[in-house]
């Protein structure tokens, strides 16, 4: 009895695709040995035990502070000229550039007897909400007067959220230098990798 034909007529004559250009990667893979190796697992115990006798590579933070690179984006700082006038003219380009929308600039006119900045106007209110800031540095890039830069202070913890809104006086003040800054001429990479002495 003729068996009903289940396959196409050419099915039994077909060949695997040969090694033509464009068929790279179709070589038959060698069978890998995936049988369990319990004795090899015992070597793992030796590895873990050996690590006990090596010095841990953790850097203990308050005792050892890893040097930051000079372009590290930490707390913001507003700058003054040599004669005491503020560089910031309240143009709010930084506030416009900020992705997190955390800068508040309220400008006011410079009068003859009350001159704060070098231009026509100054920033009467300048506040940065550090709990919203993502420290991206766009405000620094956007400022046409180099009035705001990001310095290297990052230890900014406070006990209440209100204390994290930095006003103009706080931003004008020089940041506390508690963390060493790596000398860029000394290293190829900015930060020494695993410094073992404190």
């Amino acid at each position: 009895m003729a068996r009903p034909q289940r396959y196409a007529s050419w099915f039994h004559e077909r060949r695997e695709p040969s090694a033509e250009p464009g068929s790279a990667g179709r070589e038959p893979k060698e069978a890998r040995d995936v049988s369990p190796q319990p004795l090899e697992s015992l070597k793992g115990f030796g590895v873990t035990l050996k690590q006990v006798f090596k010095k841990p590579i953790t850097q203990q933070y308050p005792e050892y502070k890893r040097p930051v690179y000079p372009r590290f984006r930490g707390r913001h700082r507003l700058w003054r000229f040599e004669n005491g006038l503020e560089k910031c003219v309240g143009c709010s380009l930084c506030a416009a550039a900020c992705p997190a929308d955390c800068i508040r600039v309220v400008p006011a006119e410079n009068t003859a007897d009350h001159r704060i900045s070098a231009g026509e106007r100054y920033a009467r209110i300048y506040e940065i909400n550090l709990s919203r800031c993502i420290f991206c540095g766009y405000c620094e890039l956007a400022c046409p007067f180099d009035a705001i830069t990001l310095e290297q202070e990052f230890e900014l913890s406070e006990y209440s959220r209100d204390d994290l809104i930095y006003t103009k006086d706080m931003l004008l003040a020089e940041p506390v230098k508690r963390v060493p800054v790596a000398d860029p001429d000394l290293y190829d990479t900015p930060i020494p990798a695993y410094k073992t002495d404190a």
């Binding site: 697992s41 793992g44 115990f45 590895v47 873990t48 035990l49 690590q51 006990v52 090596k54 841990p56 590579i57 953790t58 203990q60």
Partner: protein, 328 residues
């Protein structure tokens, strides 16, 4: 039989020592695992982090202890109590010393000498499993239910191999009482040498019994949130942790008693408890080492291993031991 006014303070001391050991076992484990991973363990709370268990204890007590709305109160609260109770009660039959004569009173080296103490231990372990089942189920949460079902299936499977692995010991010592088993190892070879296969099976089944790595899938955080103790917080979760760690100490103590000669030491049996603690410490280090090194087994791999590999090996060990004991 010693008078009750010796047994009671002794039990009090033993329970407190076990609880202290549990607290500082968490410290030891975190430090040792840290060192094996080339980092410091906790070293901020107190010198060398020694106050870390106290800090954890205060934290757990201060946490809000809630009951899930849909949960069943009595069962939910009773489950960790049951597990912790059975874990602690098992220490009543573990012998830790030879017995001392003090001012013509005799102080035994154990709290209770029951003639079937080994069976009592396994019975208590099985009742402790009820704590895990009930705890996960009464939480009325999918993760808890699945976790507790997995845990209990795992524990029940490996319980069989655990019991069979000590059968060889029972045959050789001709007694189920732990005190007699330790006495048989006095002067003779410790049972770890003739029963080496039983020892290995005991260790593996014991790791699975106490939900320790590499068999800790039911409580791995990445898998089922936290398994049967997902819905527990504060001291109730602390009780589950206590049950787990006290079970680990119990397992080490049991391994020492059955296989490593109990409280016998190289010199002066009067210092029995010291040798006992040393051996228990070595066993605990072994379990911590195991946890650091091996990756977790998947659940089906776990069950397959328990039934298809461990059980036949344990059975074969028991049969061969029985044959040899009859022949010799």
């Amino acid at each position: 039989m010693e008078p009750w006014w010796i047994s009671l303070p002794k039990a009090f001391i033993v329970i407190n020592l076990v609880l202290l050991m549990f607290a500082y076992l968490t410290w030891v484990e975190r430090k040792v695992i840290g060192r094996m991973q080339r980092r410091y363990g906790p070293n901020r709370a107190g010198p060398f982090g020694l106050l870390q268990p106290i800090a954890d204890l205060v934290k757990l007590i201060r946490k809000e202890s809630f009951v899930p709305t849909a949960g069943i109160d009595v069962l939910y609260i009773g489950a960790p109590v049951l597990s912790a109770f059975t874990a602690l009660a098992a220490f009543a039959v573990i012998p830790f010393g030879p017995g001392w004569e003090v001012l013509d009173y005799h102080i035994d080296g154990y709290i209770a000498n029951v003639s079937i103490s080994l069976m009592l231990l396994f019975a208590l372990g099985s009742v402790g499993i009820y704590g895990f089942i009930v705890g996960g189920w009464a939480s009325e949460s999918k993760y808890s239910l699945l976790g507790s079902m997995r845990t209990c299936a795992q524990l029940v499977s490996y319980e069989v191999s655990l019991a069979l692995s000590v059968l060889g010991i029972v045959l050789m010592a001709q007694s189920l009482s732990l005190v007699d088993i330790v006495a048989t190892q006095d002067g003779d070879w410790w049972f770890v040498l003739p029963q080496a296969v039983g020892f290995v099976v005991f260790l593996i089944a014991g790791t699975a019994e106490t939900n320790r790595a590499p068999f800790d899938l039911p409580e791995a955080e990445t898998e089922l949130v936290a398994g049967y103790h997902t819905e527990y917080s504060g001291m109730r979760w602390g009780l589950f942790q206590m049950a787990e760690y006290v079970n680990l100490i119990l397992l080490s103590a049991l391994a020492t008693t059955l296989f490593l000669g109990g409280w016998h030491g190289p010199w002066d049996d009067w210092f029995g408890p010291l040798w006992f603690l040393l051996k228990v410490a070595v066993m605990i280090f072994l379990f911590i080492w195991l946890r650091t090194t091996l990756p977790r087994l998947r659940y089906d791999q776990l069950m397959r291993f328990g039934w298809k590999v461990l059980l036949p090996v344990a059975t074969a060990n028991a049969v061969v031991t029985a044959a040899l004991v009859l022949a010799l």
